[in-house]
């Protein structure tokens, strides 16, 4: 069998973990030829890649969709060829034809878990009367970023956490380096703050590096992110990083390939599979060390 | 309207610290052919550029056919009837000969299409051949781009361009500098034809023989200023005379203060 996969971008940290996991998993399956393409965050290119796969006659297609609101167009491009969405939930999830399925996570969980845990920690630190902090957005055009930031605002909107105030929120484009500069810029105003929430681990790490370079004590600041990458967990182990959220690459990756194989074989599959996010704190980080 | 077709008053141009043209007062009459002479860097081309709107003057005034003019650019000057062969020739290197000859006033079809009206390539090619023949230049293939033309061929294209269109004032800045013996003779004939037709001309030239053959009057520039105004129709002045004005050995009586 032949499976073609297209990813929203190749040079993204977490997606690379997912992607490489899928290559490994595919290699263990006899007679499977597995091919992956980079959509470079270009929706039209991704639609065309799907069409290219069809023109080459692959047996199934796996899509990590660039834009979750483009489900209809992507689904249509595949025609009769079986298709599985991975990691991101397309908006047409309820209208998928029988030849299509999805295995993904729900981004409402990720940002909420992280922000809520920070809220609890701040209270525990005795800052329940008022805490101020910063929010770092991922790429502004990315829906995971938009959703995770919205999650943060929703958490702060809850009675229990409305003691938290966002001083400013800005994008650092998922990137550690930009996060360093952004954090340093924020700190140069001299304004005191109690927490930093980031849409992913890389930015949280960048913020931590900048704060440490400025001589801050990381015990005084709560830092939260998403992904549970290895760099993040080691930072947590060092006592710098407080909260992250585990996104299950193996679950999503193997799940999607297996679903594709079953679709090819004409078997019945669960059309919607949600792989849950899991909260990671210093208390349980040991469980996740070699996962992502 | 008086007889004066072009008049400048205290025309001045500075480039940063360089005073390239200072207080030039110049006049010419209907049908007159005037030569401008002077050393290299004396300000002759600068004078031409101010009159034709290629550059904006530092100060001074210009009248054309009695009206004060302030050209915002060369397009205005052309529309006012001034045709110029610039010393730099102003040719588009990547275009071929007919394209250059008709640049800015193409022969067209379907004119109602406005800017998208069609070019009449055939008519332009034909007119180009005729124009070039008047200059006597030989160009093996007019559809070659200008950058592939020899120095003299380029110059002839620029001259043909000017000679193809009627004008109220023709200006030629060293038009025969790069031309061969035959081509020079032809271009001089073109100038004579203009004279016969009563069309006025300003000729910038370093060629004494040519100037004496062709024009009525010589205006000499020195160090950015006009230093002599010599009527040569009646043989009062010799070539050596003119040279001594150019070199500064002599200065016209009315210009002595200036220098």
């Amino acid at each position: 069998q032949e499976i073609g996969a297209t990813f929203s971008r190749f040079d993204d940290n977490w997606l690379t973990v997912l992607r490489n996991g899928m290559v490994e998993h595919a290699a263990t399956i006899d007679g499977l030829s597995y091919q992956q393409e980079d959509a470079a965050d270009d929706l039209a290119k991704q639609i065309d890649q799907v069409k290219n796969f069809v023109a080459s006659g692959v047996d199934a297609i796996i899509v990590n969709i660039v834009d979750t609101s483009a489900g209809a167009a992507v689904s249509a491009a595949a025609g009769d060829t079986p298709l599985v969405y991975v990691n991101r939930e397309p908006d047409n999830v309820n209208e998928l034809p029988a030849t299509q399925a999805f295995v993904a996570s729900n981004e409402i969980e990720s940002g909420t878990l992280s922000a809520f845990e920070i809220c609890k920690n701040l209270r525990a630190d005795g800052k329940g009367a008022g805490a101020r902090g910063y929010l770092m957005n991922g790429q502004l055009s990315n829906q995971a970023a938009v959703q995770r930031s919205k999650d943060v605002h929703d958490v702060i909107g809850m009675d229990m956490c409305n003691f938290m105030t966002i001083i400013d929120e800005q994008t650092a484009n998922w990137s550690r380096d930009e996060a360093q500069d952004l954090m340093t810029n924020w700190m140069s105003s001299g304004e005191p703050f109690d927490f930093v929430l980031a849409n992913n681990d890389e930015m949280a790490i960048g913020a931590i590096q900048a704060m440490k370079a400025a001589g801050m004590d990381m015990a005084d600041v709560q830092v939260g992110g998403v992904d549970a990458s290895q760099d993040a967990l080691l930072s947590m182990a060092a006592g710098d990083y407080d909260v992250t959220v585990f996104q299950d690459s193996v679950g999503q990756g193997t799940g999607s390939i297996d679903a594709a194989l079953r679709l090819i074989a004409g078997e019945k599959v669960d059309q919607k599979v949600y792989i849950p996010f899991k909260l990671v704190t210093p208390a349980n980080m040991g469980d996740f060390l070699d996962k992502n | 309207m008086s007889d004066i077709i072009l008049k400048t008053e205290n025309l001045t141009k500075h480039y940063g610290g360089v005073h390239a043209l200072v207080d030039a007062n110049f006049e010419m009459k209907k049908g007159e052919h005037v030569a401008i002479m002077g050393d290299n860097g004396a300000g002759k081309s600068t004078f031409v550029r101010q009159i034709t709107g290629v550059e904006q003057r530092t100060s001074g005034k210009v009248w054309l056919y009695g009206d004060e003019v302030n050209f915002a650019g060369p397009l205005d000057a052309r529309e006012a009837g001034i045709e110029t062969v610039f010393q730099t020739l102003a040719l588009a290197d990547d275009l071929d000969v007919p394209d250059n000859l008709f640049l800015g006033r193409e022969k067209t079809k379907f004119d109602w299409l406005g800017p998208f009206r069609f070019l009449d390539y055939k008519a332009m090619r034909q007119a180009t051949m005729e124009g070039l023949e008047r200059t006597g230049v030989k160009i093996p293939n007019i559809r070659n781009t200008i950058q592939n033309m020899s120095g003299g061929q380029r110059q002839c294209v620029a001259i043909a361009r000017t000679a193809t269109f009627a004008s109220r004032l023709t200006i030629m800045d060293e038009p025969t500098a790069a031309l061969g013996v035959q081509e020079t003779a032809q271009v001089e004939n073109i100038i004579r034809t203009l004279k016969k037709a009563g069309e006025p001309l300003i000729l910038v030239s370093h060629n004494m023989r040519q100037v004496f053959d062709l024009v009525d009057r010589i205006v000499v520039f020195r160090r950015g200023r006009i230093c002599a105004n010599l009527d040569i129709k009646n043989g009062d002045h010799t070539g050596e005379d003119v040279v001594s004005y150019i070199t500064g050995a002599k200065t016209g009586a009315e210009f002595e203060d200036a220098l």
């Binding site: 069409k51 | 290629v54 990547d94 275009l95 394209d99 093996p140």
Partner: protein
Amino acid sequence: MTDTSHGTGGLTFDKTKRSWPNELNILFALFVIIAIFEVLGQMLPYMNDQSFLFDTRDRFDSIFNEARLKIIILQVAIIGIIALGVTQVIITAGIDLSSGPLVAATAMIAMSFGQTELVNGFANPKALFGPWAMDLPVIVPVVVGLAFGAFIGAINGTFIAYMRIPPFIATLGMFLICRGIALWWSGGNPISFPTDGFKWIGSGMMPVVWFLSLAVVFHVIMRYTVYGKHTYAIGSNEEAARMSGINVKRHKVTVYVIASMLAAFAGVVLAAKSETAQAGMGEFYELFAIAMAVIGGISLQGGRGSIIGTVLGAMVLGVIRSGFTYIKLDGSYQLMAMGSIIIAAILFDQYRQRNRA
């Protein structure tokens, strides 16, 4: 052998030795690239005797693999539309970096007037405006999009022509501004679910239809009209064009307006094709549009290049992309291979040109 019908004589001129149009080299390079993929397909062990362009599967029953032929051009049609405008800009010795973000901004703006009220009976979850903006005739979003493009182009052109901002800077500024507009328009949220009329613009092979018809129109314009001639003249020697009495400033504004309108139209087609508009769309499109023109033989110094060349340049990129999928090249190698092929194609072009000189 002396033939003077092309000139006023002088030297011997051998009419049979015409200059070889640059476009033929690119066409040739295109065929070579196709042939290489065809051969690779036969040689690579895991390819099971598939063919790149021909039909070897039982599923289909024609000579060519039509799906492949279609996708080759379909996938470059939208950037190709941008490239038609970029070509004109580059011929004036300018550059337009703003086209990619303009695609995104226009997609967002146009789509907000092209949404449908009901999606499968549910209210459109991504509706940006109220019911007044829903289910409008398709002409509305198209006109809005084009008007927006014209507006941006007029600003670009005015800055460049009248205020003498270098094109690179003016359009880089506009690059950032348009990205900003795209993000701000709906706060980063996608705008989805267009009307059927709007979808039609980008459905099936429509992007190709637009691309090729516009290419024909602009080929004629650039080659046979005053507009085209002045565009080349300005790029060849702006000062000479000015001295020859061309209204250089006004002309440049027109060129930038046309280029931006083409990019805006590409944005409309892209939104229709994807059935959604998103702020991140069109990333790197400006680079690829420029690349198409450059592969097509344009000179960034201005004065040279052609629409046909750009269309062929687009085809080269299209063939490469499909070819990679065909030979199952892994995504991480595709970039390296694409880079090498682009360089090789131009190398080949250079080589042929020199051998003819």
